[in-house]
Symmetry: C2
Subunit: 221 residues, 2 copies
DNA sequence: GATTGCCAGATTGTTGACAATCTAGGAACC
DNA sequence: GGTTCCTAGATTGTCAACAATCTGGCAATC
């Protein structure tokens, strides 16, 4: 008898909470690349001691989002152009792998529906001219795709890569010049992914990401 | 003027050192899956306080090698059969992705040579009947392949997956009944990977990993 | 006899303080 | 004038002690 399954995690631990908060801060750009994370300040901000804060930071260090220099402190990782390419290259590998699993295991329809929801939301955001919301939906599209694989390890890797993607984007939340184009492209991708042959689907996904990185690199000049 | 490049890391930080040590202990099975990591004992063993030790453990938690339960402690992650399949499925995605990069960027010959070294070492170990050494070489083969991609993110993901692979294997260091077979299979794989068409190379790699997981699952019944 | 309540011991979570190290700035020297 | 050295301040690294929580066993109760 389950009685009350309200608390699968009895209580998110403090370091987990702080780690999530920091990750989010890095992702949204509230903490800029290269910025140092002063322990005393942050500890005061979260109203905890430096101990739990340091533990949370070490987690993000192992995820590659932060990097630590002994006796100097921890900093938000800066992404070189080479890193940007690596993020997208790795995303391409992970996402195509996830897609392969989805197609192999016949979750085509269910995944198609979920992606349709996301695209619909993206379209509504685009209609309102809300660039950031479109960008959010864009990322969510790819996250949903990987989640559909049901592979905890692919999902975990993807989560980190999406944080890094946001770091790449920085202030500019979308590299598209026209929001409608961004929507249409994802709708086309959704259709190709879930209707075409696996080989074509994977090619389309790769092309989509190649385009993205190309636009991003161009803007960064 | 470089003068002395002996210390690219001025000094490996304490938590980094402890994290590596713990990772290695989990990998070699000195810490068994499910085992609890008592903070006081480990801190005494490493001759440090509980602070740095906890920071190191948090790193491995974020890698998925350990998992923490609030007010209960941290434990070595136990791998279900489903996890074993997920590890190998993800390895297949990562390794094929890395192979793709290697072939695309024309590091074929250099990679072939490196892999040849590994296979040669594997053959020597097999000749001496040294199962564990063959198993080490086996893992090294796949690690070298991914390293050849030059992608920091693929390499990082692979490192974690290899630790988990070792955890899957547990006591039995190799699932092959005959060491020579293991060597021959890798030599064949090496040749196919670096001589056949990209598509065939990837298929061969996937088949190789599918075989591995099948043997592993069979032994685990 | 089985269940419940409770307590002692042990373990984890958190904290504040102390030690070690680095950075910035100016003074002394060539 | 430029370089070197040194000091003060701040920041990180580490530690030991305190508080909160959990585990296991024993006694009381139905």
């Amino acid at each position: 008898m389950p009685l009350s399954d309200q608390t699968p995690n009895p209580r998110r631990s403090t370091v987990e909470h702080i780690a999530d908060e920091l990750r989010s801060a890095v992702m949204t750009g509230r903490l800029e690349p290269g910025e140092q994370l002063g322990e005393a300040d942050l500890a005061a901000h979260f109203e905890v001691s430096r101990g739990p804060l340091r533990e949370a930071m070490q987690r993000l260090v192992s995820e590659g989002i932060l990097h630590a220099i002994t006796n100097r402190g921890v900093f938000v990782s800066e992404l070189t152009l080479e890193d940007v390419r690596d993020v997208y290259r790795t995303r391409s590998v992970i996402e195509r792998g996830a897609l392969e699993v989805v197609l192999d295991e016949g979750h085509r329809e269910a995944t198609a529906d979920e992606l349709d929801d996301v695209v619909r939301r993206m379209r509504r955001a685009a209609a309102k001219g809300d660039g950031p919301a479109v960008s959010d939906a864009d990322q969510h599209f790819h996250e949903v795709l990987v989640e559909a694989s049901g592979s905890p390890r692919l999902i975990r890797a993807m989560r980190t890569l999406l944080v890094e993607t946001r770091m790449c984007l920085g202030e500019l939340r979308t590299t598209y010049t026209d929001l409608e184009t961004q929507v249409d492209e994802h709708e086309a991708l959704r259709r190709t992914i879930l209707e075409a042959t696996p080989a074509k689907a994977k090619s389309a996904l790769q092309a989509h990401l190649d385009d993205a990185v190309e636009r991003l690199v161009a803007k960064r000049t």
